[in-house]
Amino acid sequence: MNERTISIDVNGEQRRVTVEPRTLLVHLLREQLGLTGTHIGCDTSQCGACTVELDGSAVKSCTVLAVQCEGARVRTVESLAKDGALSALQQAFMDNHALQCGFCTPGMLMSSQEILRRHPEPTEAQVRELLDGNICRCTGYQNIVKAVQDAASRIAGAPRTVE
């Protein structure tokens, strides 16, 4: 075994973990660190269910080797809620019925975080284009797009009426 020990900041906690070079970031998060909020969907870099934030960018954690994350800063869906209170984005997903089975939701949230960083007031077209790497098999995206735009308004301090 050619295991090695790496240091990695996960959700604000400095962790030292021992991994094989072939360990995927998503497996480190789920199996070694117990952070099972990050989901594995397709496992072929298509569906985005495993999206996490790596050094400030949303990435597919099934397509990143854990050893590449030496010294990196990782944020998972578990980092969104603060002291038990949902983030504005999570609350908007809930209020807009942007999830049914919820399997894709962690990835949708982590990608949406980046969309809101890039575009504080995203258009529907921008949300659809940038969420292209996240597949949902229940809702048909309508409410997901609505939720991201709603979250943008809430963060800007002007909540839309949710029907």
Partner: protein, 285 residues
């Protein structure tokens, strides 16, 4: 664990990577963004003994202009290419193509050099750099050489890069006239990979006529092809309504005579992509 076992080495510089390349035994692969290599490892389509991670080499990143050429570091991510102001001003085809690679999450990691070394026949950047007449600058321990993009592709998913070399940068001659460009990808409905990818890059002179034309097409052969006949028929035209009267599908059929079935359908789809890419060149006026 999906991948076979391998050893991992993190290179701090290009020289460090080259020393590792020359000292390690067995099948050695370079890892940058990993968005072609990691999926291949997971499917056990690749089983290298060693990976050399070059993603931390700062010399391989960024865009600059020197000696009349625009240089792009091989480990520059699509995201960086998409938003680079120098490229937007000087080589607009690169950000246009970068913005159409896969999706936001892949663009945050994947690199231009990775795509060129992987040389997938349906990928975006092989088509893009072919349309730009780019040079690929490679280095080994004892030598540096520049490879013309026309000599880079060597059959299916194979390139002129030797096992002891690293792709350092890609350079494009800074344009001397106004540039118009277009890129159109017809995506496979399920995989979203390009069935046909067409890139057009035109130089337009002061009188509004096409002074130089490059049309590259990917997806229909082992590697992208340039369409010299079509290019010749564009030169001298006024740079509006460019596709008017061009026999695009006939030119394509002549340029790619051994296209397998569904031949007619592929020619039709590819001709449509080229027509639209030329339309983008026109609407950029």
């Amino acid at each position: 664990m999906y991948s076979p076992r391998f050893d991992y080495h993190r290179a701090e510089s290009i020289d460090h990577a080259l020393r590792l390349l020359s000292s390690l035994d067995g099948d050695v692969k370079l890892l940058a963004g990993g968005h072609s290599l990691v999926p291949a490892l997971k499917l056990r389509l690749a089983s290298p003994s060693h990976l050399i991670d070059i993603s931390a080499c700062s010399e391989l990143k960024g865009v600059r202009e020197e000696d009349g050429r625009v240089l792009i570091g091989a480990a520059t991510s699509y995201r960086e290419l998409e938003s680079d102001p120098l490229l937007a001003a000087r080589v607009p085809l690169v950000p246009v193509v970068a913005g159409q690679v896969a999706d936001m999450l892949v663009r945050n990691r994947g690199t231009i050099g990775g795509s060129l070394c992987n040389s997938d026949p349906n990928a975006d950047f092989p088509v893009c750099v072919l349309a730009l007449d780019a040079r690929l600058h490679v280095r080994s321990l004892g030598e540096e050489r520049a490879i013309a993009v026309s000599d880079w592709f060597d059959g299916l998913m194979s390139t002129a890069l030797r096992p002891d070399e690293v792709l350092e940068s890609i350079s494009v001659a800074a344009p001397r006239q106004q540039v118009r460009c277009g890129y159109v990808k017809v995506k496979h409905a399920a995989s979203r990979f390009g069935v046909a990818c067409a890139a057009a890059n035109l130089g337009v002179s002061g009188d509004g006529r096409v002074a130089s034309a490059a049309i590259a097409l990917g997806g229909l052969a082992d590697h992208p092809v340039r369409l010299a006949g079509l290019e010749a028929s564009l030169v001298g035209r006024e740079a509006h309504d460019l596709a008017q009267g061009l026999q695009i599908q006939e030119q394509l059929a002549a340029a790619i005579p051994d296209l397998p079935p569904p031949r007619q359908w592929l020619l039709h789809v590819a001709a449509g992509a080229i027509r639209k890419a030329l339309g983008q060149c026109t609407s950029a006026a």
